[in-house]
């Protein structure tokens, strides 16, 4: 909240759109604004009434650079919009930077998402440190209901709950790295860094960076889905393959490789396979191992075909790690298998488990 918990005295709040951006049809702007207010009314008694003349609580406008409030915008990118906390006059007013490109999809910047964030300020919400919250200061694109638990708690402590609306399913908060029960969705190398995927987030581990850095997947790769099942790096081709469901994406650094996503069955997997649990490229052999339920396949990167004699049993070929895998990485002759909150260090040459650790020991926990 803002200091003194600024909020509107009553829950019927008026708004008026003073002008429109040329980037979108008028109807699209009206819809984005209405949907942005609905995000907040769904979880509170707040109701928003649109005015077409005179003074409204929340006056909405598009402007560039100095636009009349001595808080100038800064041209494209950077500062996208701002809003004032509840109060008379300029209180609640919301301004969007016309030098940005406003969109209604994942291209930057989605007007609905920025408006929902700014209306949070206009209702009394300040910024959140939780990267998964709508009130996080940095823009990130995501689908679905945008409020996290943190956002909902914040607005309801100002205005109460929505009497005629059951619980909405908030976005999950960002996973905490030292949660002892933490498990991983996927892990891969990326040009010398280690990328660990969990829910809608990833941690980036750099040998010189003591602290892992947590970021929303879509902040870095908007084209990727919110949920990653498996990932591996093919260092020869300098690409990372990301698996989610029956699709796969190829990333060259931070760019999506042309022609993706593709179906995983292109690799030679049977149609019965609907999801890959883990994947790893063994640099010494040029083979990529794909783990599905209790079995795994071996893919020859050179020939671009599946090796014959697969699938084989995980339990038989990797004794000691159990029969299922969430994620797997390969470092200097060792395979690191992750299952639930456990990490197995497996020697590829002597074919046995050398150490068993907590999964998040890799995150300095």
């Amino acid at each position: 909240h803002f200091p003194r918990d600024l909020k509107w005295k009553n829950t019927n709040v008026t708004f008026r759109i003073l002008n429109y951006t040329p980037d979108l049809r008028k109807a699209d702007v009206d819809k984005a604004v209405r949907n942005a207010f609905n995000v907040w009314s769904r979880v509170t008694p707040l109701r928003f009434k649109k005015l077409y003349e005179g003074n409204a609580d929340i006056m909405i406008s598009f402007g560039a650079k100095e636009h009349g409030d001595f808080n100038p915008f800064d041209g494209p990118e950077g500062l996208l919009a701002h809003a004032y906390p509840p109060g008379n006059g300029i209180g609640g007013d919301t301004h969007f930077d016309e030098d940005e490109t406003w969109t209604k999809d994942f291209h930057t910047f989605n007007l609905f998402l920025v408006a929902a964030h700014e209306f949070g300020h206009a209702l009394g919400m300040a910024h959140s440190s939780d990267p998964g919250s709508l009130m996080y200061p940095v823009y990130s694109y995501g689908k679905g209901y945008p409020l996290s638990e943190d956002d909902i708690k914040g607005i309801q402590s100002l205005y109460g709950e929505n009497p005629d609306h059951g619980r909405v399913k908030p976005k999950p908060d960002a996973p905490t790295k030292c949660d002892p029960e933490l498990s991983f969705d996927a892990i891969t190398e990326l040009r010398g860094e280690t990328i660990i995927f969990k829910d809608r987030f990833y941690w980036r581990l750099h040998p010189q960076m003591p602290e892992p850095e947590q970021t929303l997947i879509k902040s870095t790769w908007p084209e990727l889905p919110n949920q990653v099942d498996a990932a591996y790096e093919n260092p020869e081709k300098d690409i990372v393959i990301i698996f989610s469901g029956i699709q796969m994406w190829a990333l060259n650094g931070y760019n999506l490789v042309e022609g993706y996503p593709k179906y995983i069955h292109k690799l030679g997997l049977p149609k019965t396979v609907r999801k890959i649990d883990a994947a790893v490229n063994i640099r010494d052999t040029g083979k990529t191992l794909l783990f599905v339920d209790e079995e795994y396949w071996s893919y020859d990167e050179e020939k671009g075909t599946m090796d014959s004699g697969y699938p084989r049993s995980i339990e038989n070929d990797f004794p000691g790690i159990g029969d299922e895998v969430d994620a797997v990485a390969y470092h200097y002759g060792y395979l690191y298998f992750y299952h639930e909150h456990i990490q197995f260090e497996y020697s590829y040459s002597s074919r046995k488990v050398m150490r068993i650790m907590r999964a998040n020991s890799i995150l300095n926990c």
Binding site: S129, M209, Q214
Partner: protein, 79 residues
């Protein structure tokens, strides 16, 4: 020469960012006080974004400062 310019640009970006979002006062504060203040404000920003709190303008901190964002400050009152 270009390196100096690059460093200067980074410093300017950081100063602008901290003034706008972390209530760092503008104007001259005298050499020493200005740099102490800057380090303190950088620490505040790093703590908010759960970065490693060093008080130094490292790459991760600059990377966050360059991200598209909302214009409302992260600390103190917005008026």
């Amino acid at each position: 020469k270009p390196i100096a310019n690059e460093e200067k640009d980074k410093l300017l970006l950081a100063e602008k960012y901290l003034r706008r979002y972390y209530d760092m006062p503008a104007g001259l504060q005298g050499e020493r006080k200005a740099s102490d203040l800057m380090h303190q404000k950088i620490r505040e920003m790093q703590a908010f974004f759960r970065l490693e709190v060093t008080g130094k303008l490292d790459d991760n901190t600059l990377e966050v400062m360059e991200m598209a964002r909302c214009g409302v400050p992260d600390v103190a009152e917005y008026n």
